[in-house]
């Protein structure tokens, strides 16, 4: 609310981001572990030949992976933006507050106890775990009303993450699936297929719609809870819907791509810096930036040490931790 940004500069920002996004997407299609000439990549789009292995590679591996990266980026950025808005905490992020590790616990349970392991079961369990993590951290926020500074909440989130990951490790070590869990944790998008896109797309859209639906109330909430209630926002409704969108977005991102930290932390900060705190603007810009960051990180994860993949979560952590440490030293941490 404090910063008003002129429409023209917003258009410039959006145009620049879209340009960058297009560039990165093209690069992701052109470069990979297997060298494929540009002409072949283009040919796979306008004259697809099912018998050509390289065409198959572009259409069945690189393209779905690119789309998954974009969608997961949107999901992470939006869940971070909603989380920071709802908890009024500049350090909130699904991976810092225990939600991601809650989803990880869900996946550990499904690895250990579901004999017919499929993408759908792991998705369901991961949603359950994400909901558990979100519920616990929001309960802590509500229960400690006023007594918890943003810093304390983040530290509590770290303890919660430690608890969840200890439980997951215990369960998977006992059932001897520990390395499966680690591969999934660090999995990134190397296994992304069209099936994942089909799951991601509707869930991310739903999360985006819910977030946009409460965007006005979220903006008003920044003026304080009393003002928001006075202006006709139902706090319970906003919190409940916000909770749903966080669970949907964080849960689906984790189940597809494993633990990817710090995207949900950094992106809302950059977006707020660029377009201010009007959520109608903030949410789409966050989504766009999240998409860009994740596609860039995924490209990096493939390029650092080819043909091996560097875990995507490690790449984002290497980018995110310095920023986190910078925030940790900053004085003002409420949104």
């Amino acid at each position: 609310m404090t910063t008003s940004v002129r429409p023209r500069s917003i258009l410039t920002i959006v145009a620049l981001t879209v340009g960058l996004l297009t560039l990165l997407s093209t690069l992701s299609l052109f470069y990979g572990a297997v060298p494929i000439s540009r002409a072949t990549v283009l040919a796979s789009f306008h004259s697809f030949d099912a018998g050509n292995l390289q065409h198959q590679l572009v259409q069945e591996v690189r393209l779905p992976r690119l789309i998954c990266a974009g969608l997961v980026g949107i999901a992470l950025a939006l869940s971070g933006t909603m989380m920071q808005g709802l908890t009024r905490n500049a350090l909130a992020d699904p991976s810092l507050l225990g939600i991601t590790h809650g989803a990880g616990l869900g996946v550990a349970l499904s690895l250990a106890f579901v004999s017919e392991h499929s993408f759908v079961t792991s998705l369901a369990f991961s949603f359950g775990g994400a909901a558990l993590g979100t519920a616990v951290i929001l309960l802590i926020t509500v229960f400690a009303r006023g007594r918890f500074s943003p810093v304390t909440l983040t530290v509590a989130g770290a303890a919660l993450s430690a608890l969840f990951s200890a439980l997951s490790t215990g369960i998977t070590l006992f059932h001897q699936v520990a390395q499966d869990l680690s591969f999934w944790y660090a999995g990134g998008l190397s296994g992304a297929k069209w099936a994942h896109v089909l799951v991601l797309l509707p869930v991310v859209l739903l999360g985006l719609l819910i977030s946009l639906h409460i965007a006005r109330s979220m903006t008003v909430l920044l003026l304080g809870e009393d003002v928001a209630t006075g202006l006709g926002s139902s706090l319970t409704k906003v919190r409940l819907l916000g909770f749903c969108s966080i669970v949907l977005l964080a849960g689906v991102a984790v189940s597809v791509a494993g633990v990817i930290g710090f995207v949900g932390l950094i992106i809302p900060h950059i977006s707020r810096f660029l377009v201010g705190t009007n959520y109608y603007l903030l949410l789409p810009v966050s989504a766009l930036l999240g998409m860009t960051l994740l596609i860039a990180s995924d490209l990096l994860a493939r390029m650092i040490n080819p043909p091996f993949e560097t875990p995507l979560g490690a790449v984002t952590a290497l980018v995110g931790v310095p920023y986190f440490l910078y925030l940790a030293r900053r004085k003002e941490l409420s949104v």
């Binding site: 229960f143 530290v155 770290a158 303890a159 200890a166 006992f174 390395q179 680690s182 660090a186 440490l325």
Partner: protein
């Protein structure tokens, strides 16, 4: 004078803890997949046991118990020192990322010098370097932080960074090494043998008394404002020295038993409840409590889902993390 006064005040607590520790120790020796009777334990310890009793007790269980004692004491004292020097009741080598730094360095060593993995005595030194590096980073980043939680926040960041680097190297290991590294990182002592006990013992035996000798400066550091300086303490220098001892303790424990979080948090807290804030009595009581906690966690870990073993670190994290959150509320 301070020393005798403090010890006299805490003698009942010390006596109770010692007896509890001995009882748990003996009980833990007798339980396991193959139960051994108390008389058989006595027989074996004086060298009269059968071959299989000797194998179970002397070669398998005893080193594991001793390692639990040493690691518990080391991490508890490390936590006490960190809490004392930062005046932050929530400091713990695990939470601050010191364990993660040490673990990262050990995994790097295992990764790059696989043939040399049996050079066990080197690992504590490597871990010490990692721990000191993290401790120094934290000190630089949050040394004079206004809010105690900022220190923890920096720790959260460092943990994430080390975790990211760890996972990069772990995934490049072959599956058997990987399983071993994971088990070890989560804090396990079940593969303990005499060589790891003998590697860790000198560190603990030297460093814990050294920590105890710093009780007076630690007590002075608790005073507010410029009082410590006025009383003749070189504050920053002392804090650095204490931090170094804490890092050495945590590092050597990590090298021997992997990262066990929350012991350095739990033990000093319970100790403060029992004997108050005087470090002369706090450090020994915390050390005993740390040993007792790790021993109990190990007992739970090996009996709860027998014949499977749950790593001690996981048992303690499951107990310690909720306690930590409650402490955050209480403050």
């Amino acid at each position: 004078m301070d020393v005798w006064h403090a010890v006299k005040q805490a003698r009942l607590t010390l006596f109770c803890l010692c007896s509890l520790l001995i009882l748990t120790f003996v009980y833990s020796l007798s339980t396991g997949i193959l139960p051994v009777s108390f008389s058989a334990i006595g027989r074996t310890l004086i060298g009269q046991g059968t071959e299989s009793e000797r194998l179970i007790l002397i070669d398998l269980r005893l080193p594991r118990m001793l390692l639990a004692l040493l690691i518990g004491a080391g991490l508890a004292v490390s936590g006490t020192l960190l809490q004392g020097m930062s005046r932050n009741a929530l400091a713990d080598p695990g939470i601050l990322g010191i364990n993660a730094g040490a673990g990262l360095f050990v995994v790097l060593t295992l990764f790059f010098f696989r043939s040399a993995t049996h050079q066990l005595p080197v690992l504590p030194f490597v871990a010490f370097v990692g721990a000191t590096l993290v401790a120094w980073t934290i000190y630089r980043l949050a040394g004079k932080a206004v809010q105690p939680e900022r220190l923890l926040l920096v720790g959260v960041g460092i943990n994430a960074l080390c975790g990211a680097l760890l996972i990069i190297f772990q995934l490049k290991m072959d599956p058997r090494d990987f399983q071993q590294a994971t088990v070890w990182l989560t804090g396990s002592i079940w593969q303990a043998d005499w060589s790891s006990v003998l590697t860790l013992a000198p560190w603990i035996v030297c460093l814990v008394p050294l920590a105890f000798l710093h009780s007076r400066p630690l007590n002075l550091l608790q005073l507010s404002g410029s009082l410590p300086q006025t009383l003749g303490l070189r504050v920053e220098q002392t804090r650095k020295r204490i931090l170094l001892i804490a890092a050495a303790l945590a590092g050597s424990c990590v090298a021997a038993g992997g990262g066990i979080s929350f012991i350095g948090l739990l033990a000093p807290h319970i100790a403060r409840r029992l004997v108050g804030p005087n470090h002369y009595s706090l450090i020994p009581v915390a050390a005993l409590l740390g040993s007792l906690l790790v021993l109990l966690a190990d007992l739970i870990g090996k009996n709860l889902l027998a014949p499977a073993d749950i790593p001690v670190g996981i048992v303690i994290a499951i107990l310690g993390a909720p306690y930590f959150i409650v402490l955050l509320f209480r403050k």
